[in-house]
């Protein structure tokens, strides 16, 4: 796994993705499943939208008092017998964890799914120190053996089809008899389960992420469906939690409120199967659980986002709804975004974390249809934040001249949604032609490298919005 960013090559990445038939087939699953399931889960809970407002307000409250909450959280973890380590950068975070592992003579580390561990490049750092890191979430395991990055924050292997996975298992699980039937997803799951069971039982250190960190009690919370995060953290002698600093929730009541919007937004479940609250190491008399408990809190650029236009991005609870609802993500998948975080949230977060020079193009990967914001459980104004990045990129003159002038034209339409819709309906071809003839629309939603194939102008002569409607999406 590598965290080398290819975000600056979004356009090339997107082109390649559009020509990849297997990928396009797999992406159909995102479009069809996630959106419907979320809508059904929301409809089953009359309080859902009010809970989103509450979640947004609470995240804002936490961010405005983050220094104090981190202080209290740290004291509570320490009081429960745990250790808190602060890391300013990815390198610092990796060094803390590899040092912990080396000092304990660890050979094998099992890992629950953690996006921040992808962000800091933890697996590579462990391997460099001769420590085997085993991803245990089924999707993460699959992409790890393929040497890929996740293409989705909650469904890391969503870009793959069953045959891809069968092929990789045959290649790497050399102990498999030739006649073992792996053509059903059930048989692949059984194979992964058996392989990983042995890893869990042999692991020296279990590393998990955290969906929430509770200041009231010094508790880390993980939410999973498989149970891999739990086996990761209860079987080895040492449990290390790696989490970014903004994950704080004040109280257990506050976590409960977040739980009600997280799974519904993510997978359309009312509740994920396992929500686990861990506080410190095992207690005197406990018959199992880790003997040591460490939390590594990673800043990596987040404290700089506070107080800026991008503070709102730190409300994110990593549910994935924005990418599930994004027509650009549907078209190109997660790898085109070129770093750890894909989709609309990645388009905003990535430039904040790795810099506008590297990732400033990503906010262009948008049709500004607003679906991401309307699905976001903490109501992050993602289109507005992408627009902020575009303006910054514009001001910094990082854009080629043609993009700058095109941007002005695009902004004219973007600020006038009615006109944008009208233009898209009646003038798609004309605008596209105009754009092409002046060479100005290469990055833009109306005739961008990817929309050319997918959305506008659509081969059936429909506008994107009309197509979206016919797929069951509401037009705002």
């Amino acid at each position: 796994m590598s965290v080398v960013a290819t975000s600056s090559r979004f356009k090339d990445n997107a082109h390649r993705a559009l020509g990849d038939g297997q990928l396009q087939k797999a992406l159909g699953n995102v479009r069809h499943n996630f959106i419907d399931r979320r809508a059904q889960a929301a409809a089953r809970l009359p309080e859902f939208d009010a809970l989103r407002d509450q979640a947004r307000d609470l995240r804002d409250h936490v961010l405005a008092h983050l220094d104090i909450y981190l202080d209290i959280y740290t004291q509570k973890v320490t009081a429960a017998g745990g250790h808190v380590h602060f890391a300013r950068t990815s390198e610092e975070a990796c060094r803390i964890i590899t040092d912990l592992a080396k000092a304990r003579g660890a050979k094998t580390v099992t890992k629950g799914k953690s996006m921040v561990s992808e962000e800091i490049g933890l697996n590579a750092a462990l391997e460099r120190n001769g420590i085997e890191a085993v991803e245990t979430d089924l999707g993460e395991y699959i992409i790890q053996i393929r040497g890929e990055a996740p293409s989705h924050i909650i469904a890391p292997a969503v870009h793959l089809n069953q045959e891809d996975i069968e092929h990789d298992f045959r290649r790497l699980h050399t102990w498999l008899p030739k006649d073992r039937d792996l053509t059903a997803p059930e048989s692949l799951l059984a194979e992964a389960r058996a392989t990983l069971r042995a890893k869990f039982l042999a692991s020296d250190i279990g590393i998990t992420g955290a969906n929430f960190l509770v200041a009231e009690t010094g508790t880390s919370v993980i939410v999973t469906n498989e149970g891999n995060g739990d086996l990761t953290q209860i079987l080895p002698k040492v449990h290390v939690v790696v989490a970014s600093i903004e994950k704080i929730a004040p109280t257990l009541e506050d976590v409960s409120g977040f739980m009600r919007v997280l799974a519904r937004s993510a997978t359309g479940q009312d509740m994920s199967v396992y929500t686990t609250f861990s506080t410190g190491p095992r207690r005197p008399g406990d018959v199992d659980g880790p003997e040591e408990y460490h939390v590594v809190l990673v800043d990596n650029g987040r404290s700089n986002m506070l107080g800026t236009d991008f503070q709102e991005m730190l409300r994110c609870i990593r549910c994935g709804a924005c990418m599930n609802h994004c027509p650009v993500y549907h078209a190109v998948g997660g790898h085109a975004y070129g770093w750890v975080y894909p989709g609309p949230m990645g388009a905003v977060l990535t430039p904040s974390l790795i810099g506008v020079a590297e990732a400033g193009h990503l906010p262009n990967a948008s049709t500004f249809c607003g679906r991401c914001e309307s699905a976001c459980p903490v109501r992050i104004p993602l289109p507005k934040l992408m627009r902020h990045w575009r303006e910054r990129e514009f001001e910094r003159h990082l854009s080629p001249a043609t993009v700058r002038s095109g941007l002005a034209l695009w902004a004219f339409f973007a600020k006038r949604p009615k006109l944008y819709g009208l233009a898209a309906r009646i003038g798609v071809k004309i605008l596209a032609l105009a754009g092409r003839s002046k060479g100005r629309f290469a990055w833009l939603p109306l005739a961008g490298g990817w929309t050319k194939y997918r959305d506008m102008p659509a081969p059936q002569g429909q506008t994107f919005q009309a197509m979206w409607k016919s797929r069951g999406g509401a037009v705002r």
């Binding site: 809970l51 069953q162 997803p185 389960r193 207690r283």
Partner: protein, 223 residues
Amino acid sequence: MSEARDDILANIRRSLGVSADDASRRQIVATRIATAAKGLLPARGEGDIEKRIATFRAQAESVAATVARVAATADIPAEIAHFLRTNNLPATVRMGEDERLAALPWATTAIDITKGPSDGNDLSSVSHAEAGVAETGTLALVSGAHNPTNLNFLPDNHIVIIQAGTVVPTYEAVWEMVRARYGKGMMPRTVNFITGPSRSADIEQKMLLGAHGPRRLHIVIVG
């Protein structure tokens, strides 16, 4: 790494434009934690005990758990024997030293019992939950001297006993019970909220049960 800690906290304050010795900000946070106020509670889980149990049961069954209800504690072993038989499982279970489990009339059945944490070779385990949450059919279990957490995850079949009177409307009601037992701001090492058996949809979005944890979750409501 206290230098890193100080740097990060200072940078947060600088970005937010606040000072470290602003007592009013500290007060706001202290009050929020001290009161632990409940937010908006969904109506779905509310109602009298029978309504809550009906909701709990419907929710748990909707996520592929099976649910049985017995009239008295004495009926539990027979129900567990029935579950094992129905699923063609051997009559052996592993459990912790929990007194509530030890007190059951196991001798009325042919079930073999082993005790303590699992080494990964047990097919079935029995646990006692502290509460059930009606709104989503969720079980709440705690770790401790008598409740190995790994019994919730390693065996293929997890049988969980719950007293009817502990089926509460919301997660928040569980936190009230936890605070009453462990004290404000205190937690056992692990609290597990469990909603149905383990699953994964990582292969082409197809939902498969028994990813790493149990393939079956059987809930026995008592009373």
